[in-house]
């Protein structure tokens, strides 16, 4: 019997194609947004946790600026100094600590040039730290030496950085690039890390970078730290905080453990997700109202038909079920199409992200997401259909038959 009602409902939807498709479109937009958001949101979380797992649990970073407002530290001219590095190094429980200076500088290669993030690092500590605790590997060559004109570059910078429309060349080992008129030999290429920032960056010794920018100050962008084995990184962070506060005479810095960074990133993603999901849900509610509107119009239009069906033996609940099913099917069809579009959008975003070096981001699609999309759209259709269906089922046969 349910199958018969299903067929009756489908017949009536097909009979009013234009209106049905317009109504379905409303749900398509809502569901495709929801699916895209969930798929990419989960993908982003996955990418972050993958990055953090490479980062290592006993890693800490000191940034200038307050933790609650890190951006003001980056853009507000605050910075750390070599003295701070010494304070950190002398803190109990710190295994490795070294300064990192990051500047955007133009690198020239052949007849091309490119604005690049250049990291200035002390050779020995950074090599140990990055290779042993951050999972970095060299695809080719070796790490740079201190005070030498040597540079190590990211995988993508070497492959694509100076290529444009197949013109230009790949950078190979032992070729020379020019930075601020000074020649640097490429001694190493880092294997892909799957994130744009580091794959497109260059790495030279800290002293050389300071020479190039002509800075007499002992400016430092951030301090990378590894806690000693067996020590709680949170405790180390507390100690560093206390010592730095005493030496700097102000709390204008933040000490972040990898766990803490994960939380911050997670929170940012969560906020973005909630906002976008909120928008998607609004779209869905609008879609649901569209269904309701269509169903009410349908009830009015088919009043006589309802009267006839009642005359030939349809009970109130039969009529109600037919209309409810019609609304549910509209929702379900919209959901199926929306699901397909949403998954496609997520996949396209993933593809574009990979093209641009964000190889960690992958659209998250599994059977539960698909079932959720379909189920959710069906439920929305049914909820939107409840009131119209009730109105239809409660029509008096005599009044309905008389309706023209």
């Amino acid at each position: 019997m349910i199958g018969d009602y299903f067929r009756l409902a489908v017949d009536s939807i097909r009979h009013r194609q234009l209106r049905s498709w317009l109504t379905i479109l409303g749900i398509v937009i809502g569901i495709s947004l929801v699916v895209t958001m969930i798929s990419l949101g989960e993908g982003m979380k996955g990418a972050v946790s993958q990055q953090l797992s490479r980062f290592g649990p006993d890693t800490l970073v000191v940034f200038p600026g307050k933790e609650a407002n890190l951006f003001s530290g980056f853009f507000g001219g605050l910075h750390l100094e070599d003295d701070d590095v010494d304070v950190v190094k002398n803190t109990k429980g710190v295994d490795i600590a070294f300064p990192v200076l990051i500047k955007t500088i133009r690198i020239e290669f052949g007849d091309k040039d490119k604005q690049t993030l250049l990291h200035g690092l002390p050779s020995k500590e950074s090599e140990k730290f990055l290779k042993d605790f951050q999972g970095w590997e060299l695809a080719d060559g070796r790490w740079f030496r201190d005070k030498s004109n040597e540079i190590v570059i990211g995988f993508k910078l070497a492959k694509e950085g100076f290529k444009e429309d197949d013109k230009g060349k790949e950078i190979r080992l032992n070729q020379k690039v020019e930075i601020d008129g000074e020649k640097f030999t490429v001694v190493g290429i880092i294997a892909s890390l799957g994130e744009r920032e580091h794959d497109f960056a260059g790495y030279i010794s800290l002293d050389k970078l300071r020479d190039i920018i002509g800075s007499s100050e002992k400016e430092v962008t951030n301090i990378d730290i590894k806690a000693a084995p067996g020590v709680d990184p949170n405790e180390v962070a507390e100690r560093i905080k206390k010592n730095l506060k005493r030496s700097r005479d102000a709390e204008d810095f933040a000490v972040l453990t990898s766990e803490r960074m994960g939380n911050i990133a997670g929170n940012i993603i969560a906020v973005i997700e909630v906002v976008l999901l909120g928008l998607a849900v609004i779209a869905l509610v609008v879609g649901g109202i569209g269904i309701m509107n269509t169903m009410y119009t349908g009830v009015l239009e088919r009043t006589k038909e309802i009267g006839v069906m009642k005359a030939i033996g349809a009970r109130n609940r039969d009529i109600g079920l037919i209309f409810l099913m019609e609304a549910g099917i509209i929702g379900l069809v919209g959901g199926s199409i929306g699901l397909a579009i949403g998954v496609s959008i997520a996949k396209i975003v993933e593809f574009i992200a990979h093209q641009n070096g964000l190889s960690l981001l992958s659209a998250y699609i599994n059977i539960w997401l698909i079932l959720f999309g379909l189920g959710f759209s069906f439920v929305i259709g049914c909820i939107a259909g409840i009131l119209p269906a009730m109105q239809a089922s409660k029509l008096k046969p005599v009044d309905a038959l008389r309706y023209e």
């Binding site: 006839v308 009642k310 030939i312 349809a314 609940r317 038959l401």
Partner: protein, 278 residues
């Protein structure tokens, strides 16, 4: 105040009365009383529909309209009955009451000896589906369904399985001569064909009573007569009780018994005449 159950006239005194089935009946004259007594034993055995002092009052805003005033009526199995009356006489209300589409304000309506005024809306719907077949002036087929599906529709609501529904619908379309038009939508059929599909649909659940409301109202006269012949056939061959509501005296001629309605009351021949003679 009482109502003559033969002619439907209002009676002020209880001069003529008779009892049947533990119930007292009052009459306007000996003629009606004798008619009742002669017919009652024989006809009551196979009464399908009985109206007992049925009143129907509509309230439209502040106005109260009494559409049926204490009607008494018995319809036996296998009768071919026409209900006639001028517009506004309460004809449609009668039709709705007979068809269990509406319930009386006062009084009882018995369908197969069962008082329908006690039934819930969904029980009424089931009874309509099983015992009464409707044929409407505007055919009222479902436009989205083809002829076969239209005929199968009443059986869906009785929970019959698809094979049974299909077999029966094909049979019925054969009976009304439209087997070759099974897969046509109503729009692709002529008026006469649509009405015959509607008759087939009315027969779907093999009801005792076919209730036709101006069945020829939207047809030209020759098509109208051929549709009426289908109904006559059903009456003769299958013994169906046919009730036709019409204002067309030519159509009413097909009926073996005529019921005239005036101002919400049933007027049998002698009463009806009397009103005009007065």
């Amino acid at each position: 105040m009482f109502i003559d159950s033969v002619c439907g006239m209002e009676i002020k005194n209880k001069k003529f009365h008779s009892s049947h089935d533990k119930r007292n009946y009052y009459f306007c004259s000996t003629k009606c009383k004798l008619k009742f007594e002669k017919e009652s034993v024989r006809s009551r055995e196979k009464v399908v529909i009985e109206f007992y002092n049925v009143w129907k009052v509509y309230e439209l805003g502040n106005a109260r309209i009494t559409a049926v005033k204490g009607a008494n009526l018995e319809i036996s199995k296998g009768e071919f009955l026409s209900i006639q009356g001028p517009s506004g006489s309460g004809k449609s209300t009668f039709l709705h009451l007979i068809g269990c589409l509406d319930l009386p304000t006062k009084g009882s309506i018995f369908l197969d000896r069962k008082d329908i005024s006690m039934l819930s809306e969904s029980e009424l719907a089931q009874i309509r589906g099983r015992k009464i077949g409707f044929v409407f002036q505007q055919f009222n087929l479902i436009n989205t369904l083809n002829a076969l599906e239209n005929v199968m529709l009443p059986m869906i609501f009785q929970g019959k399985v698809i094979e049974e529904r299909r077999k029966r619908a094909v049979e019925l379309l054969d009976v009304v001569g439209l087997k070759d038009r099974m897969y046509h939508k109503p729009k692709e059929l002529s008026g006469g064909q649509m009405q015959r599909v509607a008759i087939a649909r009315a027969l779907a659940n093999d009801p005792d009573v076919i209730l036709a409301d101006e069945p020829t109202g939207n047809l030209d006269s020759s098509t109208g007569h051929s549709v009426m012949n289908v109904l006559v056939n059903l009456n003769k061959k299958f013994g169906k009780t046919i009730i036709v509501v019409t204002h067309d005296p030519y159509i009413a001629k097909y009926a073996k018994r005529k019921v005239n309605i005036l101002d919400g009351q049933i007027a049998h021949d002698h009463q009806f005449m009397k009103r005009f003679i007065w």
